[in-house]
Symmetry: D2
Subunit: 157 residues, 4 copies
């Protein structure tokens, strides 16, 4: 596990998640290898990310048309195969917050086992000018609220 | 084959197609049964339908924002399994033209073999008021141009 | 609504469903028209169909490798647009049972409104010889158990 | 661009690709934001990867059932939005070869513009014992044949 570049201490990292969405694997998300296709986890990350940002109030239906949050990069490590019928939980947390962007991490768990880990950067943008915007203090606060109760987070900020 | 409700005479029907798009089956479109998932053909029909309507000039980038063509129903008969790596052709033709809507048929062929047949109704609508619009004579002409050279089409009109 | 070929009396038909699965629309299942892509309902029907047949005990993990149930045709009528964030219920019922095949119907409901209707034939097959098998009395019983408590079902059998 | 962790010198990196597959964006691969959903590129990478490994002869239909190549991780950077109707090319190259695994890189180009970059590790495994296998000299040769004509590759090996 030491090879996952964005996780320093796996057993500490694992404990820093609280928000999750339960995901039900769709049959069409399997492939001819008999398990979940390697594309499908990114579908689950998207579901979980939207639910997470809504729950924090970082995105909402009241956002102005001129602001948005876009995906800048995504990265997934496949630890175990996932099968049709598996009940999985996709956990999400904020890992670090910058001036115009923030990183979130994902942990996918089946029963007690971590089957996938992932991360990705999100950028807050002006959707008309297509340039990054500064995160407001309120947005930062909301994002940080998810992580500040973990001791080892400070290092990321 | 006699069971396909929208095809009276299969060997006549088969010959009435000229437009097609070649489709390359994606690995992610297979499922754990080892062949193309039964959802995937509808992806192919959509590709073929858009290409077909563009080629006839029935839809185009110059369409007013207030007009559009929407899918009212879709129906597919699965004759043979399709596998990853198969080269298939998705044929499309207009089967009948009404006042505000028209029916198109699909035939999917692998080498010389028909693997799928399908049909669906499209409705020309006012996208603001969300009500059907009358097809203009020009649109009807374009749609009919695809079929008028077949003797047995008259019956549908 | 009178145009849906497989529904004689919509208000009677509507009432004959009891089994359903709740479906959460995935963001990736929308398209650039801003609502759920017309391919996505077939993903939902597959989910609901598998859950339904499992619940009746018609398919199970204990099935012999030589038997299976395959989709012979599928048909969907789009009544209302579905949006990301909508909570929908996909209802399934057996509509008729034949010697080697059976028809099931689908009703998709958002709040109190029917947004999609659909049907499809399933065939019980010998997966090695790729030919239809006769449904056992037990299978027929299980399928019929879902519908026999509705008065107007007899006509379909 | 300096932020892409797996690319040291973008203009050198860009030139090291020769193999590509043309990809036609499917309508269903867009989302309600009006462009290609962020999940879809991973579908394209899979297509391109399979075609690439087949072209090198690293995977083939003659592979024993006990051997296979699996995805260990995947990573994508989104540089520009992709739209329905865009003609894109997905380039693939081997970036480095290890004892039981190898890294491949992806470059997605629309006209002359790089719209996506990506990388991922593939592991050669014993599909029964589910453990990594040593790459044979022949496999290494095939993978290296794609890159040895580039001066700056040596550093990766």
């Amino acid at each position: 596990m030491s090879r996952i570049s964005y996780i320093e201490d796996f057993s500490a990292w694992e404990k820093e998640f609280s928000f999750y969405v339960p995901i039900s694997v769709r049959f069409s998300e399997t492939d001819m290898y008999g398990h979940v296709n390697n594309v499908s986890p990114f579908i689950y990350f998207e579901e979980a990310r939207i639910a997470y940002l809504n729950s924090l109030g970082v995105i909402s239906k009241d956002m102005r048309q001129t602001e948005g949050v876009i995906v800048s990069d995504l990265q997934c490590n496949y630890l175990k195969e996932i099968y049709f019928g598996d009940d999985i939980r996709v956990y999400v947390k904020t890992a670090s917050v910058g001036t115009t962007s923030f990183d979130i991490h994902y942990k996918v768990v089946r029963e007690e086992e971590v089957v996938l880990t992932a991360r990705g950067r999100l950028v807050y943008i002006d959707t008309e000018k297509k340039v990054p915007r500064k995160l407001s203090d309120e947005m930062k606060q909301k994002l940080l609220s998810d992580i500040l109760h973990f001791d080892n987070v400070a290092a990321n900020l």
